[in-house]
Amino acid sequence: MEPLEIAQKIRERFPDQVIGMEEHRDQVGVIVRKDRIVELLRWLHDDPALQFNHLADLCGVDYLGKKEVRFEVVYNLYSIPLQHGIRIRAQVPEDDCRIDSVTSIWMGANWHERECYDLFGITFDGHPDLRRILLPEGWEGHPLRKDYPLDGGGKNWSGYDEVVEKSKKLRKYDFYGTYQDPTKKTGIEDARE
């Protein structure tokens, strides 16, 4: 099925959810509200004429200062048996920065959503294990937001000092144990000091 036909079909099925459509280089993106996103995607997944069984990609986009609604969560869907694709773009406002999780439809959405949470700070309701994934726990801020500076604002990660301390301590660690006379100095130790 052609992408425009699919977009038209979505509009007929969910007239109050679809906000608009955008076409670029033969690819169609359907912009929708986030309220009934799981219902919409489940319908796309289960409908025998559509069968979008492959969630190719899920990511967030930050439109700070460009659009009224700041965030978008983008679902790139593909149907392996029917060989067609569509893009669903769900709008997520900044003051209500959460959307329902689609892990119940595609198991593979789990890590996509965790990444989106980590880098954009969008919360996915109903996600089984929503933690940071690429960045360590205790990281401040969400790097892919447009107001996050490229150099990280010159601040170190809160766990950074701890790691440095640990490595300093390990530098004095006695790797040779009891096998060597501690009063005897070896060339290696001299070099280390």
């Binding site: 280089r25 993106g29 990511c59 392996i80 996509h112 490229l150």
Partner: protein, 407 residues
Amino acid sequence: MLENKAQLRLVKNDEATHEPYTIAMGPQHPATHGVLKLDLELDGETVLECKPTVGFLHRGVEKLAENLSYAQTLPLTDRLDYIASMANNVAYSIAVEKLLGIEVPLRAKYIRTIVMEMARLTGHLLWLATHALDIGAMTVFLYCFRERENLLDMFEEICGARLTTSYTCIGGVRQDVTGHFLESLYAFTEDFPSKIKEYETLIDKNRIWLKRTQNVGVVSAEDAVSLGLTGPTLRGSGVDYDVRKHMPYDAYPYVEFEVPIGSKGDVYDRYRCRMEEMHQSNSIIRQCIEALPTGPIRAADAPDLVMPYGAQKKVVADATFSSGIIKLMQDNERYIEGDVYVAAEVPKGELGFYFVSDGKGVPYRMHIRSPSYIHIGALSFLCKGQMVADVIAIIGSVDVVLGECDR
């Protein structure tokens, strides 16, 4: 007295087997193929739960790309899947070309297909080498690296680098291939099927290999699709999905090849799929060399997106280098608002790039859909209920690279 002690020990051991305990595998472990950490919760030797931890190699490629021009991001893609970087270069280039609407000359398409399939061979050879080494077949490792070395030498001949190639550019390829390169590659492809047979004689019917791989890490077709697996890992489960066939790019519509698929979805089927794929890649390279057309290697209508050469070099030399580039970046009328998602079949699976452009010379947003990331996410599903030793076989069979996973 002695008897009592022995009994005591027995009781203790018995209790111990029923108490689940956790071990950390990695991040420094030879069988995790990089800095991957798995927290395994075990009951005896059975895995109750497997929690992968990634991000040790996170470099923020997506954030960097938002601050670099399209041409400047290309070298960063080398560092994604660093054992088959040619494939990443091609995947990135076709995505940008689709976004900007650039048509690539036919010769460049053929050359790209050749290097992409060479990258697939290097990727699969390294996968076979390390996978066999993990399971205990040392000899295969040495055999595979012998052929991989030949391919890397050929990469060096066409672009000067063995691993971080940056060979393609937006609108074509950087340099033309030489006659010597084509001859030596053709000679290589004549020889290569016999080399694959050589690996197969070592492991294909090997009893230890079969015991370690058959009925291990089974994933059904439905689950595999739901998990988002792609590439040979998905095809091992019997799903016929190959981006080269479904969304053809470059010269793939002009060559004939088959997509090998498995049936059971265990480690052995994934291994067979990759072995068959090597035969197909070999045949694609041969077809491309035979049909290689003459002509330009770069699209003429994207002059600022390729590295300056010839007459254009002078223009850039007049201005200071960076300001010249920036001026070219801003002036081009090709930059229009829009977004595209373009995928390519790299050795690991489907590598996709999602671009959002706001009409400037830098991408507004670039997202990399990396197959390794999704495959590691699926590990907790695949490893559940398996033995500890099989975890290693499963990691090898899904074929992950952490540089691509962490980005």
